[in-house]
Symmetry: C3
Subunit: 264 residues, 3 copies
């Protein structure tokens, strides 16, 4: 085992929630290495966490345990799952938060967490990240046999990004994520874009602006002129060199973006 | 020694204060494992730090060194202390910040930090977390004899949460903490509530709303209908399923909350 | 090697950028110890990062690898450098972000990062912190020979804080940094101040307020009366005891501050 546990939650950093989880992990596995992916997921936004997980999990060493807790159903009947893939372990509530990552790295085994021998007692109904997920992640990181945590199940809940629509010579997507710099990340991934434009010239429309083709880097952009590029999420991204495309375009999640192949 | 040091401060994450402390710790003990409990305590709020420490310290492995720095008196005459309890070490300015935790885990020894052999020189009058507390915590985490840091003292400064008042069939408390999700945490802890209601039915009043008894989990709540439960701080908490009770009720720290046993 | 890598970036904590970098580091060096100095540098503010690095790097153990990424020129032609000094390694884009630290700790060797054997492939044009800087830092932390990363170069880009001006009996500086507590940090460092006032009495003017000489600690200040002291950045700082000097004085970066030696 690598002993590495990554954390991705909507707990924020204003409270002691993440700290308590880490204490619990170290109680079980004092050698665990805990790495924060992000704790500032918008409260209860399963799809945002799913998107950031998809963009992060592969950068970690093999056998990393990815613990993802965005859990609006905490304490209700939703299942809690442990997924083994070729390279990683994933632990999360079964609410779709793993779905985008597992499309890229298919599950080999899915276990429903049920054996309370591995839980912190008493298990609260409001903070199972601390009482269930954290200790289980720690035991997994120590190499505990995954069949001990519960019975194997077949399928997990899905979640999906908004679909890109192709029609005639137009590809219609939308902004699905906005980063700290105000870069607007769309649901049009690199492959979808490449397959659609097939080396032809194209233009991108967002709000009342039109952008000609792709730049390679943020630094290529001119002042007050938005540019488009394939960003680190491997998706079409609208940015403003040394500025915020979000503020400049007054765009947000859901803002439409269109790709048109040029006719001449 | 576990070599684990937890940090709880009001230094925030916008500056380099926490990073500098961690550097100093690793200079003294390169094997120390440093875990952040929280750095976003409201500036100078001793009681908030005391409350989060009380809700966190037990989740850490035995022999963890809990370093707590909310220190409006830095550089003045306030004492700096090291407390050994059955399971942990605590290091802090002597201003009440440890008091709530030590009510649950009584001090066995209290040492006033005085031996400047263990301090970073020169000691500044504005950042003793870096120059005094961090290196001392690192030496303690390495197993240094605690009597070497200074002389033993008898008592430390107290701090207290607002008191809950019981009168006739009413229990009167208040909101003392609000978490990232807008959940309103009161000073009425589980035991006080249980002792008061003794299995009878009861209702909870906050602002102009009345809530019937307790829910078990956030997910039980209906849209736009606040619920009450015993949360992860082991206290009565008012919440809104997938929403913010703070925003919905326009409540804040100090908002009154009342429990009334039902008469029929 | 110490195996310690410090991180200082403008990536914030709202996205997965820092987490992805850490994953990459651990893939290369599973034993690396990663310490965050700060990730909340104002986007693209090279000088702010340079200032915080200068105030932090010395507090880390010898042989720490300081990785600093504020990189508005990412993907453009700017160089990427590795600097070895007597006590540390520094890795950054060559845009001035290391300049203030290296004034205190002069470079012994400067290497331009060019050997893509050490890069994550494919190298993106938008996130070279993850694809170039993080893996290189990890290899350096493992003890890789620094000449393997590229050819040696002579000089790096400069950056400078605003200059302090001395004229007759007046020293004129400005606020260059404001911390979480609203303390106003000026560009007048301790030595400059001492050399100028030479044990004479002096007063400090900022906005419409006058402050008499230095206090030693924040706690010496009276309510609603700003004080001046030499803070943890080793510079003249204006503060308000248990309050925010920024809010009280409505000051900001660039606010002028003057020192006058008293005539009688």
């Amino acid at each position: 085992m690598s002993g590495i546990i990554s954390l991705l939650t909507d707990f924020g950093l204003a409270d002691n929630f993440v700290g308590a989880m880490k204490g619990v992990i170290l109680k079980v596995n004092p050698r665990a290495r805990i790495i924060d992916i992000c704790h500032n997921i918008q409260p209860q936004s399963i799809i945002e966490a799913a998107f950031l997980l998809k963009g992060s999990f592969k950068f970690f060493p093999k056998r990393t345990v990815h613990l993802v807790v965005v859990d609006p159903g905490v304490g209700s009947g939703r299942r809690k799952i442990l997924v083994k893939t070729k390279n990683y372990y994933f632990i999360a509530p079964d609410n779709g938060v793993l779905a985008l990552a597992l499309k890229e790295e298919p599950p080999l085994k899915i276990i429903e967490l049920a054996n309370d021998k591995y839980f912190l007692k008493p298990v609260s109904d409001t903070f199972q990240a601390r009482d269930i997920f954290a200790p289980v992640a720690a035991y997994v990181s120590k190499g505990e046999d995954i069949y001990k945590f519960g019975r194997q199940i077949k399928a997990i809940k899905a979640s999906e990004l908004p679909k890109v629509k192709a029609k005639n010579n137009e590809l219609a997507g939308e902004i699905i994520y906005i980063d700290r710099f105000g870069n607007l990340v769309s649901n049009i991934d690199k492959e979808t874009l490449r397959n659609f434009i097939k080396n032809k010239k194209f233009k991108i429309s967002i709000k009342d602006k039109t952008i000609d083709g792709l730049s390679r880097s943020y630094a290529e952009g001119l002042k007050n002129k938005p540019l488009a590029l394939i960003g680190s999420f491997n998706s079409l991204e609208i940015a403003l060199n040394c500025g915020s495309a979000r503020d400049y375009l007054r765009a947000g999640k859901g803002t439409k973006i269109k790709i048109k192949v040029k006719r001449f």
